[in-house]
Subunit: 86 residues, 2 copies
Amino acid sequence: MDVLKVSARSNPNAVAGALAGVIREKGRAELQAIGAGAINQAVKAVAIARGLIAPSGLDLVCIPAFTDLVIAGEPRTAIRLIVEPR
Amino acid sequence: MDVLKVSARSNPNAVAGALAGVIREKGRAELQAIGAGAINQAVKAVAIARGLIAPSGLDLVCIPAFTDLVIAGEPRTAIRLIVEPR
């Protein structure tokens, strides 16, 4: 599954557009975010993408999950948001 | 629907427990959060609540949405997370 990495500086509208594109092509997508600012932008992107996808008759939902990563040798916990039609 | 207000200082485990209780009783619940720190805690709470509810055979999903509030006379945009079984 395509993973879209979201940062605190990501534009939610741009992430929503990318998310909608992946969902139209692959049926589902995944956002990955580390830290409160990034998670905030990711959640906003899902809310916006729901509006982009709704005219196609799809009702997007998201499933939040924790995932453990190692970044620059340090353990970090990221949030994954799996986004798919209900 | 019961609305659970989440702040940046909310304990995600405590919110998850409350969320699971409301979902078991009412079938669904709603979290409301304003600001990145609060949204972060709310998303973590949903991920934790999924694990609390999964043994009952329910697969929780969340639907993020924007909502406009007026707080102390100022317009604010909050995020609502509607949480329900798939």
